[in-house]
């Protein structure tokens, strides 16, 4: 424990914590994306309620029952995610402060030499993602930000939610920001965790690119399908 704290005390330690929490969050986003794709199952919707997506949501809520209570896994996951987002943000903030202090006077003229533009978007990209998550929870999970939220009707909430081009647009931007974040993050995390392997080194960049683009597509198809009336209500 003490050692963990001293590790966190260094800039590298904070980065390691970000990397690990980021990886966890990445794992969630992949799973969530795959879950979202269930929206396409059984299309066109035969009107039989509940939709596959609803059942999937239901299943998640009841996973492990009766060994776990209803919502058991969900809450475990939620707490895990919350913690991950929490430390990820706190560490990001602390590191941001450290580097801001490290350069109190900016250059008059600055030509960025970074490997990829994505690395420069991590911080404000993160803020967009955070704002999105808050909105998204109010939108799809608790419903306050949803025009016609109906508890448990996941598919219906989703289609109605994305019928507003503005909302769908925001989702697309946010998912774009997330994937840019991951494009740098997945590449970067290898270095942060000190993985030194020439074979990984060679595929590091393309794999980060493929994963983040794949993720973007996987997410983006859902709002796009609604906007283009591919996914509809009965």
């Amino acid at each position: 424990m003490n050692r963990g704290i001293s590790l966190y005390g260094t800039s590298v330690g904070k980065k390691v914590v970000m990397g690990l929490s980021g990886l966890l969050l990445f794992g969630f986003t992949v799973g969530h994306m795959l879950g979202n794709l269930k929206a396409f199952q059984g299309r066109p919707w035969d009107g039989v309620s509940p939709h596959a997506l609803d059942l999937y949501g239901e299943a998640l809520r009841n996973f492990g029952y009766p060994f776990l209570p209803h919502y058991g896994l969900l809450w475990i996951a939620r707490i895990g995610l919350l913690l991950a987002v929490g430390v990820h943000i706190v560490a990001a903030f602390q590191l941001w402060r450290q580097s801001r202090r490290a350069r109190p006077v900016a250059y008059r003229k600055n030509d960025s030499l970074v490997f990829s533009y994505a690395s420069r978007t991590m911080r404000w990209g993160g803020v967009i993602i955070l704002a999105f998550i808050v909105f998204h929870l109010l939108h799809m999970t608790t419903g306050q930000a949803h025009p016609e939220f109906e508890y448990g009707a996941v598919y219906r909430n989703l289609v109605i939610g994305f019928q507003s081009p503005l909302v769908a647009g925001f989702y697309l931007v946010a998912v774009g920001a997330l994937c840019l974040h991951l494009y740098h993050g997945l590449w970067s995390v290898i270095g942060t965790l000190g993985i030194e392997n020439p074979r990984i080194e060679r595929v590091r960049r393309p794999v980060a690119g493929a994963l983040s683009i794949g993720l973007f597509i996987g997410y983006a198809v859902v709002p796009i399908a609604v906007l283009t009336n591919f996914l509809t209500l009965p």
């Binding site: 390691v16 003229k109 690395s119 270095g191 000190g194």
Partner: protein
């Protein structure tokens, strides 16, 4: 050639600075960038002004003294060179150049383009060495070092301590410098006994000196006149984590 030069002028560590503009005529493309500054200084001096202070010594890219931002790029637009190796043929007639000092809290400006980089010395002081007594060394060939390892160590050892990595880094981090020094020693058998302790101590001092953290931007590698690779940073990260988690350097 004719140039428009905007140079940062600052009288001392605690005074405010600003840009001063010079129209420089009769610049030869064969001049080095520092020859050009000499020329400007000669003219300033003869006209009764105070010449621009800038650091330099070897003028051949090895001592690491020179260093300035030229149009927002450490050591100027060409790759793998220092400012003293930059030649005016890299610019065109009529160009406008902005010349600024390295900017980092850990590199306070002393005057004009001169900054204080002693923070880098202190990082070495924290552990960037092998503890060996003079005169107690075994025969040099008693230790075999495979060429690939020796080469890796060498690539890291090529660092000249110029600080361009810090200047280029959006976070003003000195991790490339720190990692290069640590890697130089950690690739060698002689460097093993103190390896983890070294990583822990050097990183701790790096942070203490007020450098930023590394978020793997990679700008340092691009700016580094010796082409030091950011892969060394990964190596240092690992040594640091291992060092802290195994309890080395906790006392």
């Amino acid at each position: 050639m004719k140039l428009k030069l905007h140079v940062w002028r600052q009288a001392g560590p605690s005074t405010r600075g600003g840009f001063e503009t010079h129209e420089v005529v009769d610049v030869s493309p064969d001049m080095s960038f520092l020859d050009m500054l000499d020329l400007v200084n000669e003219r300033i001096t003869v006209n009764g002004g105070e010449p621009i202070a800038f650091e330099h010594d070897c003028r051949e890219g090895i001592c690491g003294s020179c260093g300035m931002m030229v149009n927002g790029i450490p050591h100027g637009p060409d790759r793998l060179i220092t400012a003293c190796q930059l030649h005016m043929r890299s610019f065109s007639d009529g160009d406008e150049l902005w010349v600024e000092p390295w900017r980092a809290a850990a590199f306070p400006v002393m005057k004009d383009l001169v900054v204080d980089r002693s923070s880098l010395d202190r990082i070495i002081e924290a552990g960037g060495y092998i503890s060996v007594r003079t005169g107690s060394a075994p025969d040099a060939n008693a230790l075999l070092i495979p060429k690939p390892e020796a080469d890796r160590a060498f690539d890291a050892a090529a660092c000249i301590g110029c600080g361009a990595c810090v200047a280029a880094c959006p976070n003003a981090s000195a991790m490339l410098f720190t990692a290069a020094k640590a890697a130089h020693l950690s690739y060698l058998p002689q460097g093993q006994p103190e390896r983890l302790q070294r990583a822990v101590d050097m990183v701790a001092l790096h942070d203490e000196e007020g450098f930023g953290n590394c978020t793997n931007h990679g700008a340092c590698q691009v700016a580094c006149p010796k082409g030091i690779s950011v892969e060394y940073i990964a190596r240092l990260n690992r040594d640091l984590v291992r060092g802290v988690l195994t309890g080395v350097g906790m006392e």
